[in-house]
């Protein structure tokens, strides 16, 4: 099973495709990018050595189009496929298809994904090993009636979750019988479009939980190590915004118990390659197994910054059939790292996604600052894909040093043309409760109000007004407003009147 990988097709887009290609370049591995119609000029396409069109913009016709991706892999003569996260990364059928075509899938085997990626089967396994799981069903729901019965036994609120995958897709908090039927419909259709699998299950909703996960690496020879934990409690719509390592919530004995639990589960599942075991902590520091993400995770750079070790590089090495290049005692944890996900969305307006052309993106720089970005100047953010633009990571000797460095980096970040959450991230980093590390997944819900990031200094407002005034006079401002015949804007008329 040892086979040197010298050319990789990255079956993804955006920042994660860029990040994977970067490691490949370091290793002298050739790269192949795939792109949908709207991504033809995307950053990941420009980064790769070769690129191939994979289909129309909707994911089903492009980044989820398994046969087309295999066809491109064969045509471009690659050795392996890296799936990134999302899309086909946790699809065991795709792994088999890849293997059946004599290609290497950089990730776990199909059986391990089937077992651990299927959230309900994994809950059953954890439970059988005596690992505490969040109360709920270990089988997918078959009907609304069954859901109502289970929900009432657990008592509301409950969570509906997709069996087929994570990332918050298909997840809903349900507070009563009345919400259950429509909630199930919405969850099922979201799960169907995200994972091509509409099965959902119920979990008791734990109040004010903290989300802490363990990064693991496993080779094909039974070696499993952990790379420490990450706390990801700052979320909106069940999707993470801020992650950090180490968690400010747990001490060394709990950390030891947590990481050993993760390793035990991974060993029993026959899992290989990189993966993440997610846990929920209640306020009494009891932890419950939540689910396993059988892929490289969005927030993996937080771990990399602390240990100075490239997880994607190790993924490739494991996929080549090599034993782990490091042992547990080689892993040295240093300092504290925080990641903010920069999303194209409007926190002041319900976190609705926003679209548009990026007119200027300038990344912050400096000691301990890393950015994994998927776009460049002139790129377009469309409605077809996830709104993540980039990930900003700050490292410091202490949590506070990392936090202050993150604030400075965010303030230095220039992202013009799409609405984004940079102001929100600054607000979070500056929040007293966050700075004390007392966070849980309801942090934003509890403390955040849109007006908190809509307080603009007078100088900013004045400059904004003057700029509009001056540019309307001196330049034609780029306009997304549809022209209405020859009718000139009242603003212009007004100016002309005045100028006469």
């Amino acid at each position: 099973m040892n086979k040197k990988i010298n050319k990789i097709l990255v079956a993804n887009r955006g920042e994660i495709a860029v990040r994977i290609i970067r490691t490949c370049k370091e290793l002298g591995i050739s790269t192949v990018a795939i792109y949908s119609e709207v991504d033809q000029n995307a950053y990941h396409v420009r980064m790769a050595d070769e690129c191939y069109s994979v289909g129309a913009a909707p994911v089903r016709e492009s980044y989820l189009n398994q046969n087309k991706i295999i066809e491109i892999a064969m045509r471009s003569n690659v050795t392996a496929i890296h799936p990134g996260y999302g899309f086909l990364s946790e699809n065991p059928g795709f792994v088999e298809l890849v293997n059946n075509n004599d290609l290497i899938f950089i990730g776990p085997g199909a059986d391990a994904i089937r077992l651990m990626g299927d959230k309900t089967a994994a809950r059953e396994l954890a439970s059988s090993l005596g690992i505490p799981i969040v109360p709920g069903t270990t089988k997918p729901l078959s009907s609304v009636d069954e859901a109502i019965e289970v929900a009432n036994k657990l008592t509301y609120p409950i969570l509906l979750k997709a069996s087929g995958g994570g990332g918050g897709k298909g997840m809903r908090i349900i507070n009563s019988d009345a919400e259950l039927a429509s909630g199930m419909r919405a969850s099922q259709s979201e799960a169907e479009s995200a994972f091509n699998d509409n099965r959902i299950y119920i979990e008791k909703y734990i109040e004010n939980p903290r989300h802490i996960e363990v990064q693991i690496l496993a080779d094909n020879y039974g070696n499993v190590i952990h790379l420490g934990e990450r706390e990801c409690s700052i979320q909106r719509r069940h999707q993470k915004i801020v992650e950090e390592s180490p968690s400010p919530f747990i001490n060394e004995p709990i950390r030891e118990k947590l990481t050993q639990t993760a390793i035990r589960l991974v060993k029993h599942s026959g899992y290989t390659n990189a993966g993440t075991v997610e846990f929920i902590f209640d306020q009494e520091k009891n932890f419950y197994y939540l689910e396993m993400n059988t892929r490289l995770q969005v927030e993996h750079p937080v771990t990399e910054m602390r240990i100075g070790f490239d997880i994607v590089r190790e993924q490739i090495s494991i996929a080549e059939g090599k034993p782990l290049t490091i042992t547990q005692k080689d892993i040295l944890f240093r300092g504290h790292a925080i990641e903010c996900r920069i999303y194209a969305e409007d926190p002041a307006n319900n976190f609705y996604p926003s679209t548009g052309r990026i007119h200027s993106i300038k990344s912050p720089q400096g000691l301990g600052v890393r950015e994994d970005c998927g776009v460049q100047d002139g790129d377009e953010i469309t409605t077809y894909y996830d709104p993540i633009i980039s990930k900003l990571i700050a490292w410091g000797n202490t949590r506070d040093e990392a936090r202050l460095r993150m604030i400075a980096a965010l303030q230095d970040y220039e992202l013009f043309g799409v609405r984004n959450n940079i102001a929100l991230c600054i607000w979070i980093m500056n929040h007293q409760v966050y700075s004390e590390g007392i966070i849980d997944t309801n942090f934003l819900h509890r403390y955040f109000k849109p007006e908190m990031i809509e307080k603009y200094p007078d100088e900013i407002l004045s400059i904004a007004a003057i700029t509009i005034h001056k540019t309307e006079k001196d330049f034609a401002i780029e306009s997304s407003a549809k022209p209405r015949g020859n009718c000139r804007s009242t603003w212009k008329n007004n100016l002309t009147d005045y100028m006469r």
Binding site: K169, A194, S360, E414
Partner: protein, 179 residues
Amino acid sequence: MKSKAKFIFFTGDKKIELIQEASALRVDGKIYCIDIFRNSSGACTITNGNKTFRLYCKKVSETEYDIWIKHHVLRLTVEDQKTTLINKYKKNVNFGALNTSVKAPMPGLITRIEVKIGEIVQPGQGLLVLEAMKMENEIRSSSNCIIKEIKVSDRMTVEKDQELFIIESLNSNLSNHGN
């Protein structure tokens, strides 16, 4: 012949008053000396005395502008003298019921319309489901109103700010600023 022209801007509830004088600009009573340099990407560098800012301005409608400045994104609405007069008139007259529109808060695909014409909806009630960036977003009513007209259909792709519904508000306390 006037030597001064006055322009009013709004962002949210905040009002900004700009006065163009013979050789200076006065905003909320304070004089500003501002230089604007435009670079190739469309962004501007603004100097205000001893301070420098980078900024990007985009016109989104006849009277609305989005401004990116530092980490802030603000929408400014320009009010000319005609609108000032209309708003003044609006404040003095009780229109009773008024038809307004519900607009799409983001671009996306309509996957489900949850109301019918003539239906009375409560605040918080779902109107339609808009799918964008792999998430389903339910657009909810912010007021107690009657659905007068449905401007979109199932499986239709809509742009941000496109009209979705015409509604008649059933609340007597109408807001008279903005739409």
